[in-house]
């Protein structure tokens, strides 16, 4: 594609819109996976740009761990009201009640790993053939090699050795029944690109992205929000801290960073200067060097 003088945010936006429209054109039953985080909020904005004044050719799907930040759910419900699209919620609690997964125990218990099962069940129940997600290649080195159209087998598994070559801007979404494709329209964006785009587009975010006062405890060298979902004991001391969150996930595994940044400009300055990558604040990636690769193979987003 010749470039002329497209600004980088315009180019990234145009690429993402092109990918979303390819999903609409190539699949029978796509869905957009919405986590309430800034990346999936950005996807919703891009979908508006791709399909308005028409309706989205897909519903939004939220996998609810039950261990949410209430601010995220408030945000989700207000956003759904504004955009007037369909929302499907898959509950991890239901997977637990059905005995499909077993709640973890111990101090580091989290529902993060359990949501893979709920996600795969939700995909199967609705027959989705493509799931759009907000993952980016700069997040983690296993993701750096994943395709924009990433084919999963009927068990949701990603096989890094059997990826289809992806050439030019041509995306091959042909699949067999039972398989599905994960699609990542903002693969080529960095964390900073997402923030700069949110600023440019004046997109509202859940308030936990901005610095606020909160009770926290220290776990494995990171600040965690004190909540009923965290298995706390008498050894845990509660500190009152001014923090913000760089990602939005399950409350039991999303760490906060100490911050004074309560405006988007401050956050962008903070990230520009930051020396900790965003996934560094996710405890689930720390287990082993190959943690992300293992979870992706198992069907995690």
């Amino acid at each position: 594609m010749s470039r002329y003088n497209l600004d980088y945010l315009d180019e990234l936006e145009a690429e993402a819109i092109h990918i979303l429209r390819e999903v609409a054109g190539q699949f029978e039953k796509p869905a957009l996976l919405f986590s309430g985080g800034k990346d999936s909020i950005t996807l919703v904005r891009l979908a508006e740009k791709a399909f308005r004044p028409g309706k989205f050719p897909f519903p939004l799907v939220h996998i609810d761990t039950g261990h949410n930040f209430s601010e995220t759910i408030d945000y989700r419900d207000r956003m759904m009201q504004r955009i007037g699209e369909k929302l499907i919620v898959g509950y991890v609690q239901e997977s637990i009640d059905q005995g499909k997964v077993i709640e973890q125990t111990g101090k580091n218990a989290s529902r993060n790993a359990l949501q893979t099962v709920t996600l795969l069940d939700t995909i199967a129940a609705h027959g989705f053939d493509a799931c759009i997600g907000g993952a980016r290649r700069d997040e983690e080195k296993a993701r750096a090699k994943e395709r924009i159209f990433s084919v999963r087998d009927e068990f949701g598994q990603w096989d890094p050795k059997r990826q289809r070559p992806e050439l030019w801007h041509i995306y091959n979404g042909r699949i067999h029944k039972g398989e599905n494709v994960r699609v990542f329209p903002i693969s080529n964006w960095t964390e900073l690109d997402v923030w700069n785009y949110i600023r440019r587009e004046q997109i509202e975010l859940p308030s936990i992205y901005f610095a606020h006062e909160r009770d926290c405890i220290m776990r494995n060298g990171q600040w965690m929000a004190a909540s009923p979902f965290l298995n706390m004991d008498e050894e845990d001391t509660i500190y009152h801290k001014k923090v913000r969150f760089r990602t939005v996930g399950d409350m039991s595994c999303t760490a906060a960073v100490e911050s004074e940044a309560d405006q988007i400009d401050d956050i962008i300055n903070e990230i520009s200067a930051s020396k900790i990558s965003e996934r560094g604040a996710r405890m689930d990636d720390k287990v082993s060097e190959a943690a992300m690769e293992d979870r992706k193979k198992g069907g995690y987003f």
Partner: protein, 416 residues
């Protein structure tokens, strides 16, 4: 600020991963937790310093084998430009990965080991760069520290490479002597090679002119999706959504819709809530026409004064990407922009030995083979030559049995 996508080919031995690692490291693009993981890893250079190559090694299998087996995309930026690196392995068995990585790049870095000069793989990598139509080439002559930073060694290699560049019709070639290991001329200009009057690699990448690569007269708009809200308020709304593949479109332009050849005039261009008078290649837009024509996904809207070629028989370069060989009796899918049609490879004109550039006849096309073929398509295809438009001049072949992407196709001539 704009984006430069560049492609690096080279094998482990050339220090390619070290070069990329060095660029990320010296531009402060490595974050603390990644650096921590790096330092705790037990792979070190002989002198005990961090092995920067680990930064670009993604998958565990690759870590175990110590080689890069796929395309890894890396991102960094300076205050002048954003960069996307497509990092690929350089061995011949990974030709398809190189072709993939090169397909979206505007610039290629070719690595040459100063001790070895122009070797077989230099020819191979340069051929692929030429095949995929990458306009700008930077030849990094690496490991200058191993040849005493010698100007004579550098000049001998550049002389030899210029002959190759001439053969391959590579027009914009820049030579830079570097040591990725020691950091010479990667980010900072080296004081150990005062005889070198050029820029550091990074400075060159920041400033190289990359705009307006394609022929602006070809205006091509593949329709991806038709927006029809069908609400009371927007009863007559019918917008053609897509990304402009080449050229420019303006309101009031006379356009032709292919296939079919109906003609109309652009009444409105929309980019979400904006209505610009014109839009250009790379932009995702919605186009409205004055006349009500039956247009659907897969159609191509073009400027009426400059039509593409239209044919069912096309001469093309093909790179085979699957472990199952090409079967000339089989019908494949050809995916060209948003259009899907059926296709057969009706003739293999020649295959090319990409180590020597010799052409020879062959009945077979196996994994990583590259050559010239004739494609026969079920529907007439509106296409341009790859040299005129990378977007409208390229396609992929998909195996109809297992849906795998098996071929990369670059259109070279209309078989009239």
């Amino acid at each position: 600020m704009n984006i430069l996508k560049f492609f690096t080919a080279g094998s482990v031995d050339d220090g390619k991963s070290t070069l990329i690692g060095r660029m990320l490291y010296d531009t402060d693009s490595i974050l603390a937790d990644q650096l921590e993981a790096l330092q705790s890893s037990n792979r070190k250079n002989d002198d005990g310093t961090i092995d920067l190559a680990i930064l670009t090694d993604g998958l565990r299998a690759e870590r175990e084998q110590g080689i890069t087996i796929d395309v890894a995309y890396k991102y960094f930026q300076t205050d002048k430009r954003k960069f996307i690196i497509a990092d690929t392995p350089g061995h011949i068995q990974y030709t398809r990965n190189m072709v993939t990585g090169a397909s979206t790049a505007t610039l290629a870095i070719i690595l040459i080991d100063a001790r070895n000069g122009v070797v077989e793989q230099t020819i191979r990598h340069s051929y692929l760069v030429s095949l995929l139509g990458i306009k700008h080439v930077v030849v990094c002559i690496n490991k200058m520290d191993m040849v005493d930073y010698s100007e004579t060694v550098f000049s001998a290699i550049t002389d030899k490479y210029r002959i190759l560049a001439g053969q391959l019709n590579l027009k914009d070639v820049t030579f830079i002597p570097v040591s990725a290991l020691k950091g010479d001329n990667v980010v900072q200009k080296s004081e150990r090679m005062v005889w070198y009057g050029g820029e550091s690699l990074l400075h060159f990448l920041e400033t190289v002119e990359i705009e307006a690569d394609d022929d602006v007269k070809l205006s091509r708009f593949p329709v991806q999706w038709v927006i029809r809200p069908q609400t009371d308020a927007l009863h007559d709304y019918r917008g053609y959504a897509g990304r402009i593949a080449a050229g420019k479109f303006r309101v009031n332009d006379r356009v032709t819709v292919l296939p079919g050849g109906s003609s109309s005039v652009i009444s409105r261009i929309e980019i979400f809530d904006q209505q610009p008078e014109e839009a250009q290649a790379g932009q995702s837009v919605t186009i409205h026409l004055k006349d009500d024509i039956d247009i659907s996904r897969g159609d191509l809207i073009v400027n009426a004064e400059n039509l593409p070629l239209q044919s069912k028989m096309i001469e093309a370069d093909l790179c085979w990407m699957d472990t199952r060989a090409l079967d000339p009796s089989l019908t494949y899918f050809l995916q060209h922009n948003s259009k899907l049609t059926r296709c057969k490879v009706s003739e293999i004109i020649y295959k090319i030995d990409i180590n020597t550039l010799e052409k020879h006849s062959s009945d077979e096309f196996r994994l990583n083979d590259i050559g010239r073929v004739i494609l026969k398509t079920a529907d007439e295809l509106p296409f341009d030559l790859y040299d005129d438009s990378r977007e409208n001049g390229a396609a992929i072949l998909v195996d109809s049995r297992n849906n795998l992407t098996v071929g990369a196709v670059m259109f070279r001539a209309d078989v009239a």
